[in-house]
């Protein structure tokens, strides 16, 4: 028995643990819902935990595994959310089966976001470091601003797009306006459920893990570690950068579809730079390149402000302070030393065996 476990390699075992944890958490949540032990507040949050987790692991692919700081990840989520919601809302009477409609919406959202990922990736990935960060921020804001003024509707003659108002779409009497500028899309069917969210999270996780453990994944990580060395051994840097970036964008699109089908109305102003930053905080706190950590951080930091609600007006203040203290605790030299001194290992060690005297 023991031999069999050892045969599975380390990363596979690691992934099985993560997926196992997700499934266990899911089972606990479901049993709590069935037995009525879960508060309404938490029930409403369940789907958002899933899409923030997907956002966190997909951004981790860009930031942690590809090694490029991206501050515009919410832009891809925005594209996914709008593309998916547009499809669902226009097809709500045509396709009755919720499952098929939602699956198609997810594929469409992912495809659109991935497409934009390729376009933006081709344009920006030759920049480096902070310049790349600021350009992704700029793209995120452009996506938000443009969708904020767009009016899109359709009638028998096809799809009409306008940047002015609903009247200038020139729809005939069969026409429906779907995207209404700053109001966004409302009345999307609420197809997203916790179960679907968890399944999508697991699928996204598997996609990223499989990518990371493949030949392409090793190429991507070699670019992160030293792009010159990677290039000199014949790795096509541009290709792998765009591959990672667009997969990350497509998964963000999936999260966006989940988002827009969870709350049934979606405005582009929600996907500003603040959301991108929030996702980045999940990734950094969870550990760069550590997918399980990203999921943990996303769940923890989404729940934290909700559970701090009793603090009322002080809750975001406390959140900010907790954030600063966590970073200081993680990285300040004095804290690192303190942690080493009082770590579990050391404390246990001092109990069970004599500490060696330092020379």
């Amino acid at each position: 028995m023991k031999k069999n476990i050892l045969k599975i390699n380390k990363s596979t075992r690691n992934n099985m643990v993560t997926i196992g944890l997700i499934v266990i958490a899911y089972a606990i949540c479901q049993s709590m819902i069935v037995t009525g032990n879960m508060s309404n507040l938490l029930q409403n949050l369940l789907v958002s935990l899933c899409y923030y987790s997907i956002m966190a692991i997909s951004l981790n692919l860009t930031v942690g595994i590809l090694g490029h700081l991206s501050l515009g990840h919410a832009g891809f989520m925005c594209i996914g959310a709008f593309a998916g919601a547009f499809f669902s809302k226009s097809m709500v009477n045509t396709i009755d089966n919720t499952f098929i409609r939602f699956t198609l919406a997810i594929l469409i959202g992912a495809a659109f976001a991935g497409l934009f990922g390729v376009i933006i990736g081709v344009a920006v990935l030759r920049l480096r470091g902070d310049y790349l960060a600021i350009v992704t921020l700029a793209f995120g804001e452009i996506i938000k601003n443009v969708l904020n003024v767009l009016y899109i509707g359709y009638d028998k003659r096809g799809i009409h797009i306008s940047a002015e108002d609903a009247m200038s779409l020139n729809l005939d009497e069969s026409g429906v306006v779907i995207v209404k500028g700053a109001q966004g899309i409302s009345g999307t069917p609420r197809d997203a459920t916790f179960t679907i969210g968890v399944i999508l999270l697991i699928i996204s996780y598997l996609i990223i893990v499989n990518l990371v453990n493949s030949r392409s994944g090793r190429a991507i990580m070699s670019i992160r570690d030293n792009h010159i060395a990677a290039e000199s051994v014949g790795i096509n840097i541009t290709k792998y950068k765009i591959l990672a970036f667009s997969i990350s964008a497509a998964l963000a699109g999936v999260a966006g579809v989940l988002y827009s089908h969870n709350i049934s109305s979606v405005q582009s102003s929600k996907f500003g730079y603040n959301m991108s930053i929030m996702i980045l905080v999940y990734v950094v706190l969870g550990g760069m390149g550590n997918l399980r950590g990203s999921i943990f951080a996303a769940i923890l930091l989404t729940l934290l402000p909700e559970y701090l609600r009793f603090l009322r007006d002080y809750r975001m203040l406390i959140y900010a302070i907790v954030l600063i203290i966590m970073m200081l605790f993680n990285w300040a030299p004095a804290c690192i030393e303190w942690r080493k001194k009082f770590s579990f290992k050391n404390l246990l060690g001092s109990v069970f065996r004599k500490t060696k005297k330092e020379v």
Partner: protein, 293 residues
């Protein structure tokens, strides 16, 4: 409104951006970190001036001076408490800490001053004039903003080129280790940089909120991002770059809002930035980074 009026308004807005961008670019040049809380220092400056003038009835000049002092103290405190312990940490960790500080300042302001936006009274008691027989109106705020910015930029350039502290700042930004060997106190130099940047932010807040009078806890965020973009535009780390970048950004923003679309003005600014960076990947005056293999 004629083209020239828009242009002058653009230069005026741009010089405010330039002053904020100087704070970003100097800190980046020296500490190699993106200080995301810088925009919120502007907001704090605005609220300090607002409170001093409306509740204590101080004169505008005194209020601005006190705001400069308090913002300087705030900047140095933030640096000492939140950034100094993280000097050797990865840059992303520092970035997240800066974001935490930004949230902290915004929520403090939200708690103290409430969610509604305040109407800022102009600190500039200069009447508007009009040139060319009334065809080119120029507001008093613009009349003061542009010269103030020019004076500050000249003073800052002289300070950096001539004074010992200024040259220490250049030395630290060129090579930290070598600067230490030459006897430069790196921690002190970084603190001074934060002090100058925050003082500039306070002046910028007085000028900016006099023109755009809406003051709320988040009103520092967007100018902050734009100034950051201006700094990148000009080549981050470069002081003349920040000035040029800021002024260009202001002009582009006002002109595109006037002639293309009010709502898409921000998007156009970002688009121009992307195009500039694609042509010159390190900004207008940025240094070319040579990588050793």
């Amino acid at each position: 409104m004629s083209f020239i009026t828009y242009l002058i308004n653009g230069i005026s807005l741009g010089s405010v951006y330039a002053m904020i961008a100087l704070g970003y670019t100097m800190v980046y040049g020296i500490a190699k970190m993106l200080n995301f809380a810088h925009g919120d220092v502007i907001m704090v400056g605005g609220f300090i001036i607002f409170t001093l003038m409306s509740s204590l009835g101080l004169s505008p000049v005194l209020a601005v001076l006190i705001a400069i002092v308090l913002c300087t103290v705030l900047g140095v405190t933030i640096e000492g408490v939140a950034y100094k312990p993280l000097r050797k940490a990865p840059s992303l960790a520092v970035l997240i800490t800066a974001i935490g500080v930004s949230y902290l300042l915004q929520n403090l302001a939200l708690l103290i001053f409430g969610a509604g936006s305040k109407s800022f009274t102009s600190v500039i008691p200069v009447p508007a004039i009009s040139l060319a027989g009334g065809r080119i109106p120029i507001s008093g705020e613009t009349l003061v903003t542009i010269p103030v910015c020019i004076i500050i930029m000249i003073a800052l350039t002289i300070f950096i080129k001539k004074s010992k502290t200024g040259r220490a700042m250049v030395a630290v930004s060129e090579d930290k280790e070598a600067a230490v060997l030459m006897g430069v106190n790196v921690n002190k130099t970084i603190a001074i940089t934060f002090a100058i940047g925050s003082a500039l932010a306070a002046i910028a807040s007085a000028l900016m909120f006099s023109t755009y009078t809406n003051l709320s806890s988040t009103s520092g965020a967007m100018p902050g991002i734009k100034a950051f973009i201006a700094a990148v535009f000009g080549g981050i780390g470069s002081i003349p770059g920040a000035m040029i970048g800021g002024i260009l950004l202001g002009i582009i923003e006002i002109l595109s809002k006037a002639y293309i679309s009010t709502q898409l003005g921000d998007a156009i600014v970002f688009l121009v930035l992307i195009i500039v960076l694609l042509v010159k990947p390190t900004g207008i005056l940025g240094k070319k980074i040579q990588e050793k293999v």
